[in-house]
């Protein structure tokens, strides 16, 4: 085998593995990315039913109803719009009315939301970042308020667990 041929084989193999990786990334990017939306954005934009979303906002006071079994209904609001959410499962330890929450699931016709995951950070002062930003956009957020985002120091205090402790 000549030196040239060996080099060609090496380049061909490198190229094909690289192409495979790029192809996989691009195909996965188009199919498996979930966007974050606030209730107002869902109201305003006509998002087709069946879309997978992350919905974030505050759990509306007095909206929490426990159904039969482990089904719960609650409403997520950003004080501009409100979306009804249904979820079956155990709610996270820090899920409370009036607190920030992020729900991931499918948007159903009539802007109802069926969540399969509900996240609330395991920290009393924490507001999910997306929720804080969405509320800021609505002008309903005071920097450094009682429910302000935790300063970087204590946010990274549980950095060893990171955001998965949201669950």
């Amino acid at each position: 085998m000549t030196r040239k041929k060996r080099r060609l084989i090496l380049i061909a193999v490198c190229g094909s593995v690289l192409a495979l990786a790029v192809g996989l990334i691009l195909s996965a990017m188009s199919g498996s990315i979930v966007f974050f939306r606030s209730p107002s954005e869902i109201e305003a934009q006509a998002i087709p039913a069946g879309t997978r979303l992350r919905l974030g906002g505050l759990v509306q006071d007095g909206s929490l109803k426990r159904g039969p079994g482990q089904t719960v209904d609650f409403a997520v609001t950003d004080h501009g719009a409100t979306i009804a959410v249904q979820y079956t499962g155990l709610l996270p330890d820090l899920f409370r009315e009036g607190q920030g929450v992020v729900a991931e699931g499918i948007l159903e016709p009539g802007n109802r939301f069926r969540a399969d995951t509900v996240l609330a950070k395991h920290d009393e002062s924490y507001m999910p970042r997306e929720v804080a930003d969405a509320l800021k956009k609505q002008g309903r957020w005071q920097e450094g308020g009682a429910k302000g985002p935790v300063p970087a120091a204590s946010a990274s205090a549980d950095g060893t667990l990171g955001p998965r402790s949201e669950r």
Binding site: L10, A21, G89, H122, A152, A155, G159, R164
Partner: protein, 667 residues
């Protein structure tokens, strides 16, 4: 007073690391070997100082000295002692101090490794290590000082985040850091080689034990973190493709590639430039990981605004080391003498393929982790890249990689015989297919990927065992059928051969554990005492719900009896919800019942008004194999470390004679 002394020791470490950095340069200019000796002494001194600072902080935590800000924020008098101690690194400042402690520990180890590392390489490596130490100690002193005092001192502390009050915190971060930071040595070796403009098999041999030990620790650290998240977070997942996890996975993948390319370099004097680049990339990914976790960029892109100094400082460190080392690479790498090209079908050819797949897999994780951050910074769009992305990019790249593992092992150096290797693996392949089809038949209608995974795992396990058998049996004229001779030869094989096989078998065990999760099942119900819930092959009955009082929490515990379908009791599980008054936080404490390698996992929800409780149960078949497999991998690495070759210094004369031969083969 001890606290102030600790602070002073840290400042002293800063000065010593500066000495450590400057001395090799001075020594090279003046040609005085005594100056080079000073580098080692400075490295040992820096380690001693950081160790003292760390001990001082630990003392403040152990004695609940609430005049120290760090202790106030993370401790409480009623917290058990083990969490007071592990709480030292359960916060930003303390964990950075642990990071630097391990950094200087590795530096001290290199300074002490007089026999295995040539003096000039050692001095230059320590110089680069000194620069890293200097920058990180400067970061701690200027932005994250753990010794800041509070006046007046409060009476009680704010307690540690209850999620971190777990033995996992005592073990996981030190292991992870030993791995993460251990790669800094490999990086320093690579930079030293570039500065010298010379790299050879001696370099590869000197660097290999450090890479291998860092890799072992990182493997254990990641596995420990995964198991901790599994039992602590209460929803039964063992890997979440979460950015923080990916931050530790990326250096691991790159480190695995580095481990394999160093072998090629040591044996065949090839892949030099590539190995140096990988060494740089591996530590760069460790730094990116530190940046992701420590800068607060994950909690919010905007936390730069809340504490801009820290994030910007780490970003500066990142640019300095990654940019600096890549620039050094671009400048000096052409000086390194290239090794020859080699035949595609050979051990080294398969190791190149291994490197390609590993780097491609690492790249997919990198894109999936950083793309959302980049997109948000550029467009403001918030997206989540979750498990589906990684399952459809990482997994298709991992499967061919796993398929070539036994092939690569059974190919000879220089020129392999693919047909002979395939024939030898025929048995492993047959057993794997049989195992796959048997599981498919037994679990008809179940997930398809699971039997494929079982087959793949079996193939890896048997392929690794076959390799040992084949080598013990011998080739050509030495070939024997006598079991006694085979056994004797097997014991006579170098430990690195056993280590390799063991580590690869560990991968097989992990794959089987992951595949078996396809058959995991879960159940969810509101139960009153006396009622039961069925999950997988087991039935769990709620016996009673009872309150309990812990040292710094109140707990509502649920006690369950688990029976099999025939009605025989197999064990008891208890799960609880703990309320920590100091932080006003409730944490679910999941209950685990281990049955062989499988587990029944119970997690308690909220109590209903009618006296019922919400309960989630999981049946996790063979789940323990995931972590045990990782332990086997690390053991394999550790076994390789004890190989004679690792302890003996520069290669023997025979190595020199082998070089011209390989050059001929490359033509």
């Amino acid at each position: 007073m001890i606290v102030e002394t600790g602070h002073f020791a840290l400042a002293l470490a800063l000065a010593l690391s500066l000495v450590q950095m400057v001395m090799p340069v001075w020594a090279a200019r003046s040609g005085d070997p005594a100056l080079r000796q000073t580098t080692s002494q400075a490295a040992l001194g820096a380690f001693a100082c950081v160790l003292f600072a760390f001990a001082a902080l630990t003392w403040a935590h152990a004695t609940s000295d609430f005049s120290v800000q760090n202790v106030v924020e993370n401790s409480h008098t009623q917290k058990p002692l083990i969490y007071k101690l592990s709480g030292v690194w359960g916060n930003h400042e303390g964990s950075m101090l642990l990071w630097v402690l391990i950094l200087t520990l590795f530096g001290a180890c290199v300074a002490g490794a007089k026999n295995s590392v040539p003096p000039r390489l050692r001095a230059n490596t320590l110089g680069v290590q000194g620069l890293i130490t200097f920058v990180f100690v400067l970061f701690i002193i200027t932005t994250s000082n753990p010794f800041t005092r509070v006046v007046p001192a409060p009476i009680e502390g704010r307690d540690l985040n209850p999620l971190l009050q777990d033995p996992g915190l005592a073990i996981h971060p030190p292991l992870l850091y030993l791995g993460y930071v251990g790669f800094s040595i490999t990086f320093a070796f690579a930079a030293a080689a570039l500065i010298e403009g010379r790299i050879d098999a001696v370099w590869a041999r000197a660097v290999r034990p450090w890479t291998l030990s860092a890799w072992c620790f990182l493997t254990l650290g990641i596995a420990m973190g995964s198991y901790w998240a599994y039992y602590e977070l209460g929803w039964g997942g063992w890997w979440f493709w979460d950015p923080v996890e990916n931050a530790s996975l990326m250096p691991w993948i790159a480190g695995t590639a580095l481990l394999h390319s160093t072998v090629v370099m040591e044996k065949r004097d090839a892949l030099k430039v590539w190995t140096v680049l990988l060494a740089i990339l591996t530590f760069s990914l460790s730094l990116v990981g530190t940046f992701i976790v420590r800068s607060g960029v994950l909690t919010s892109v905007h936390s730069f605004a809340t504490d801009p100094t820290r994030g910007v400082f780490i970003l500066g460190i990142l640019v300095l080391f990654i940019g600096g080392s890549l620039a050094l690479f671009a400048w000096r790498a052409p000086l390194l003498r290239q090794g020859g090209l080699f035949a595609p079908i050979s051990r080294e050819g398969s190791l190149v393929l291994n490197n390609l797949f590993l780097v491609a897999a690492c790249a997919t994780v990198f894109v999936g982790t950083l793309y959302p951050l980049l997109l948000e910074m550029l467009t403001g769009d918030k997206i989540t890249v979750g498990p589906p992305f990684f399952n459809s990019t990482f997994v298709p790249l991992a499967i061919p990689l796993l398929l070539i593992v036994p092939f690569g092992q059974s190919l000879a150096w220089k020129r392999g015989d693919l047909l002979a290797a395939s024939q030898r693996l025929f048995f492993a392949l047959g057993v794997a297919l049989a195992a796959g089809f048997a599981t498919l038949a037994m679990t008809a209608g179940g997930p398809v990927m699971a039997p494929i995974g079982i087959g793949l795992g079996a193939y890896l396990l048997i392929g690794s065992a076959m390799e040992i058998v084949a080598r013990a049996r011998g080739y050509g004229a030495r070939r024997t059928r006598s079991p006694a001779i085979i056994a004797r030869r097997a014991f006579g094989l170098p430990r690195s051969a056993w280590g390799t096989s063991l580590a690869h078998a560990g991968v097989g065990v992990v794959v089987i554990g992951i595949a078996a999760q396809g058959w995991a099942s879960e159940g969810l119900a509101s139960l009153k005492p006396g009622q039961s819930l069925t999950v997988g092959p087991y039935v769990a009955t709620l016996d009673r719900v009872a309150p309990r009082q812990g040292p710094n929490y109140e707990e509502a515990g649920a006690f369950l009896t688990v029976r099999n379908r025939a009605g025989d009791e197999v064990g008891q599980v208890e799960t609880g919800r703990r309320f920590y008054p100091s932080r006003q936080m409730t944490v679910t404490e999941s209950g685990l019942l281990t049955l062989g390698a499988s587990q029944v996992y119970a997690s308690l929800g909220e109590a209903g008004k009618d006296g019922s409780i919400g309960l989630r149960l999981y049946y996790k078949p063979l789940v323990l194999l995931i972590w045990l497999g990782a332990v086997v991998m690390a053991l394999g690495g550790a076994l390789s470390l004890t190989d004679r070759r690792m302890r003996v210094g520069a290669p023997a004369k025979a190595k020199g004679r082998a070089l011209p031969a390989s050059a001929v083969a490359a033509e």
